[in-house]
C-alpha cells in the first residue's frame, strides 16, 4: 500500500510539473473566461449610438423612433445635396426613401461611406417601415384603428412541465447540459486514458519496468499509474473551475458589474424594450428569440444540480477507471505507440458509438436505445450523462452505477492479466490470439 502511494505520487507529480499541463491549465480558463467576457464586450460595443440621416420624400415614415443604438435625424432637402453634404454631416449613414410615382412607397436606399451598416440596422429599419406602412394601410383601407390591431395580436407559448414534480423543462437547455456533460466525459476518458497508455509504453520501451516490478507487484504499478493520472485529471478540472471563476470575478470587479451573465441577460431585454418603445405589441411579436434565451437562463435553475454534478464525478471517475485499465493493457502489449492501432478499435468503438447515439437518445430519452446504452458499462458513462437532465428513474441510475463499478472491476482484472505478461514481453508482435493466451495464464 505504501509503495502504491509512492507510485501514485510520482505519476501525479511528474505530470503536474510538465509544461504541457501548466499551459493547458492556464489556457483552458482563459478560453472559458473569454467565452463569457467577449459577448459582454460585443454587446457593449454595439451600444454606441449611430446617427442616421433620413430623407423621407413620402412623408409617411416620419416616426421611425430612435433608440439607444440608432438615432434618426430627419433632413429636408433634395437627395443630391444630401449626398454632397454626407461627409460633413458626421453621420454614419443616409436613409433615402424616394416617392415612387407608380409603385407603393416601400423602397428605400441606405447610403453609407466607410462602414457598412450591420444587418441589425437594416433589419431594424425594415421592421419599422413595414410596421408603419402596414398600420397605415390597415387604417386607411379597412378602417381598422391602431387599438384594434394591437388587440388582434396574439402570441403562443408552449412550456413543458414534469407532471409529478412540477419542474419546468426546456428541451434546449436539457439537451445542452446533457451533451456538454457527455462530451466532457468522452473527451476526458480519451485524454487521460491515452496518458495511461503512453505511460505504460514509456516504461516498457525504456525497460525500467523490470526494475520496478522486482520491487512492487505489476498490479500495484498499474493501480498507481491509473490513480495518479485520475488525480491529475481531477486537479485539472478543479483548477479550470477555480481559475475560470477567479478570472471572471476579477474582470467583474474591475469593470464594476455584479454579474456578467445577468448583465447580458438584462441587456438583451433592455434592447428589445427600447427597440419599440411606443409599440408594445410589436415588442411582443419581436422578442421571441429573447424570450427563449430568457427561459433558457431561467430553466438553468430548474435542474437538480447536486445529482447531476455528483453523477458526473461518479461516471467520470469510474468510466475513466474502466477504460484506463484497458488502455494500460494495450500499452503493455505493444512495443511502441504505432502498434497500438490494431488494439484501439475495441475501445474506441463503444465510446464513439455512445456519442453517435446522442441524437436518438435526446429525441427519446426514455426509449430502449437510451435505456440499454445507459445500462451497459462501456457506454453508460456518456449515455447516462446525456439522459440524466431529462430525468432518469432512480433504480435505473443505481443499476447503471452498480454495473459500471462491476464492469470496472472486471475490466481491471482482465487488463491486469494482460498487463503483467505484456510488460515483460519485448520485441514480439502481439496478435489477439496471443492476448487470449495471456488471459488464460
Amino acid at each position: 500500500m505504501k509503495k502504491t502511494l509512492i507510485i501514485i505520487k510520482r505519476e501525479y507529480l511528474s505530470r503536474v510539473k510538465k509544461r504541457s499541463f501548466i499551459v493547458m491549465t492556464i489556457l483552458g480558463p482563459l478560453l472559458m473566461a473569454a467565452l463569457m467576457i467577449v459577448p459582454y464586450y460585443i454587446t457593449k460595443l454595439d451600444k454606441e449610438q449611430k446617427i442616421i440621416n433620413v430623407l423621407d420624400e413620402t412623408g409617411i415614415y416620419n416616426k421611425l423612433g430612435s433608440n439607444e443604438t440608432i438615432k434618426f435625424n430627419y433632413i429636408y432637402t433634395d437627395i443630391e445635396t444630401a449626398i454632397a453634404n454626407f461627409d460633413q454631416s458626421n453621420t454614419s449613414a443616409l436613409l433615402y426613401i424616394p416617392k415612387p410615382s407608380l409603385t407603393e412607397p416601400t423602397n428605400a436606399i441606405l447610403y453609407f461611406a466607410d462602414k457598412q451598416p450591420g444587418n441589425t440596422v437594416t433589419s431594424y429599419i425594415q421592421d419599422k417601415m413595414k410596421y408603419i406602412y402596414e398600420n397605415k394601410k390597415l387604417m386607411e383601407l379597412y378602417g381598422i384603428d391602431k387599438k384594434q390591431i394591437d388587440e388582434a395580436k396574439v402570441r403562443i407559448t408552449i412550456n413543458s412541465e414534469n407532471i409529478k414534480t412540477g419542474e419546468k423543462n426546456l428541451p434546449l437547455a436539457t439537451t445542452l447540459i446533457g451533451i456538454f456533460a457527455g462530451f466532457l466525459i468522452y473527451f476526458s476518458i480519451f485524454m487521460y486514458g491515452n496518458q495511461v497508455m503512453r505511460g505504460v509504453i514509456e516504461e516498457k520501451t525504456s525497460r525500467i519496468v523490470e526494475i520496478i516490478v522486482s520491487s512492487v507487484k505489476p498490479f500495484q504499478l498499474l493501480l498507481g499509474k491509473i490513480v495518479g493520472i485520475a488525480l491529475v485529471g481531477l486537479t485539472q478540472f478543479l483548477l479550470w473551475i477555480v481559475l475560470t471563476l477567479s478570472i471572471v470575478t476579477v474582470f467583474q470587479m474591475t469593470i464594476g458589474h455584479k454579474n456578467i451573465v445577468k448583465t447580458e441577460q438584462t441587456q438583451i431585454t433592455k434592447q428589445s424594450n427600447t427597440l419599440f418603445p411606443e409599440n408594445p405589441d410589436m415588442k411582443k411579436g419581436q422578442d421571441s428569440d429573447n424570450e427563449m434565451i430568457q427561459s433558457l437562463l431561467n430553466s438553468i435553475g430548474n435542474y437538480n444540480y447536486t445529482l447531476i454534478i455528483a453523477s458526473f464525478f461518479f461516471f467520470f471517475l469510474f468510466g475513466y477507471l474502466l477504460y484506463a485499465a484497458l488502455f494500460a493493457a494495450i500499452g503493455s502489449a505493444v512495443d511502441n505507440e504505432a502498434d497500438t492501432q490494431q488494439f484501439m478499435l475495441p475501445i474506441t468503438i463503444p465510446l464513439i458509438l455512445a456519442f453517435i447515439l446522442a441524437q436518438p437518445i435526446i429525441e427519446n430519452p426514455q426509449g430502449p436505445i437510451a435505456f440499454w446504452f445507459s445500462i451497459i458499462p462501456l457506454t453508460s458513462p456518456i449515455v447516462m450523462m446525456i439522459r440524466l437532465p431529462f430525468g432518469v428513474p432512480v433504480y435505473e441510475l443505481i443499476l447503471s452505477m452498480g454495473l459500471l463499478v462491476f464492469g470496472f472491476i472486471f475490466c481491471t482484472w482482465l487488463a491486469a492479466k494482460i498487463y503483467r505478461t505484456g510488460i515483460l514481453m519485448y520485441g514480439k508482435k502481439i496478435s489477439y490470439r496471443e492476448l487470449w493466451k495471456w488471459l488464460r495464464y
Binding site: 509512492i6 514509456e202 525500467i208 523490470e210 526494475i211 520496478i212
Partner: protein, 316 residues
C-alpha cells in the same frame, strides 16, 4: 550454508516449458554464475527468484525460509533489459526506485549521496537521465540495485554497455560486496568474467540444469591430462619414441622447436613424463592444458543438445 535453494522449479508457458525441474543451491557469500545459451531459461529463473513470476512447481528457499514478499527488501536485482525514465531527473529517480525497494527517504538520501560521490555522479543529480551517457545510466542502475544493502544480489549481464574502465570498476565493486557478506548470482555469456569472478556455476540448457558445482572442481573434472611440451635438439618423431604410458596427441616443428601435446595415461605422473622425455632433448617448457570455461560451456551444451536431439528423434 546455502543462502538460496531452488527446488525442482518448473515453469510452463502456453506453448513451451521454460524451466523443467531445475534445482540450484547458492552458497552464502559466493559469486554464483548462472550460465546458458540464449533462451535456456536463465531469465525465467531469475524472475522467479525475484518474485516477478511464480513457478508452476517447486519452491525457492531463502535462508531456509520459503520465499516471501518481505524478502524483496533483501534482494537486489539488475535486469538484463534495464533502463530509466528518460525525462526524470537523476536524483529524483534514484530516490524513487530506492523508496520502492523499501528504504525511507532519509536513508535513501544518505546512501545515494555516498554512492553518487563514489562514482563521481554528484554533479548530475539534477540533470535529466536522457542527458547522461549510457555508461553513466548503467552506473546509476547499479547504485539503485545495491543501495539497500541486499543480502542477495542478482546481476543479469551486468557488464553489457560498459567500457573496460567502468566494467572493471563494477567488477571491483561486485567483489567488494561479496567480501562484505553479500551473495551474488550472476548471469552472463561472458565466460572470461565467469572465470575471473565466479566461485560456483550452474549451466542451464533447454530449460534443464546440466551442470553445477564449484568452478575449480568443474575445471579439474574436465581436465584431460594433456600437457604441452616444448623440446629442442630433437629431430625424430616423438610418437615412435615414447612408450604407451604416454599418447602423443599432436606434434609440430616450429623454428627448430618441437611442440607436442602429450596425454599421460595409466595414472602416471608429470615427473615420469619429464623423465621419459629427458633423454631426447632439451625441455624448454611444459604446461598442463586446462580447459577454459568457454570450452566446457560449448562442449557441454553441444553434447547436451546432441543428446536431446537423438532422444527426441527416438521418441518421435
Amino acid at each position: 550454508m546455502d543462502l538460496l535453494v531452488a527446488n525442482n522449479i518448473t515453469k510452463r508457458f502456453a506453448n513451451h516449458v521454460a524451466l523443467n525441474g531445475v534445482s540450484v543451491s547458492v552458497p552464502e557469500q559466493s559469486i554464483f554464475g548462472l550460465l546458458g545459451p540464449n533462451g535456456a531459461g536463465k531469465t525465467t529463473l531469475i524472475r522467479i527468484i525475484n518474485m516477478i513470476s511464480m513457478p508452476d512447481e517447486g519452491e525457492i528457499l531463502l535462508h531456509g525460509e520459503k520465499l516471501h514478499k518481505n524478502h524483496i527488501e533483501s534482494i537486489g536485482y539488475l535486469p538484463e533489459e534495464r533502463g530509466l525514465y528518460k525525462k526524470m531527473k537523476v536524483g529524483e529517480q534514484a530516490l524513487y526506485l530506492a523508496q520502492l525497494r523499501g528504504l525511507s527517504y532519509g536513508d535513501a538520501m544518505k546512501k545515494l549521496k555516498y554512492w553518487f560521490d563514489k562514482f563521481e555522479l554528484l554533479g548530475w543529480w539534477n540533470r535529466k537521465v536522457e542527458e547522461l551517457s549510457k555508461g553513466m545510466q548503467q552506473k546509476i542502475q547499479f547504485i539503485v540495485t545495491v543501495l539497500h544493502d541486499p543480502k542477495l544480489l542478482i546481476f543479469d549481464e551486468p557488464f553489457s554497455g560498459f567500457d573496460p574502465i567502468n566494467a572493471s570498476l563494477i567488477k571491483d565493486e561486485i567483489l567488494r560486496l561479496r567480501d562484505n557478506g553479500a551473495t551474488i548470482i550472476f548471469s552472463t555469456h561472458n565466460m572470461a568474467s565467469v572465470e575471473e569472478l565466479c566461485d560456483h556455476i550452474a549451466l542451464i540448457n533447454k530449460s534443464k540444469k546440466i551442470l553445477e558445482g564449484r568452478v575449480s572442481e568443474i575445471k579439474s573434472s574436465y581436465k584431460s591430462d594433456i600437457y604441452k611440451v616444448e623440446i629442442t635438439g630433437f629431430n625424430k618423431q616423438l610418437k615412435d619414441t615414447l612408450n604407451h604410458d604416454f599418447e602423443v596427441v599432436e606434434e609440430t616443428y616450429k623454428n627448430e622447436v618441437l611442440e607436442a601435446q602429450i596425454k599421460i595415461l595409466n595414472k602416471k605422473s608429470t615427473n615420469e613424463l619429464i623423465m621419459a622425455l629427458m633423454p631426447y632433448g632439451n625441455i624448454h617448457a611444459m604446461q598442463e592444458i586446462v580447459p577454459t570455461m568457454n570450452d566446457i560451456f560449448i562442449a557441454k551444451v553441444n553434447s547436451d543438445t546432441l543428446h536431446y536431439n537423438t532422444n527426441s528423434s527416438l521418441t518421435e
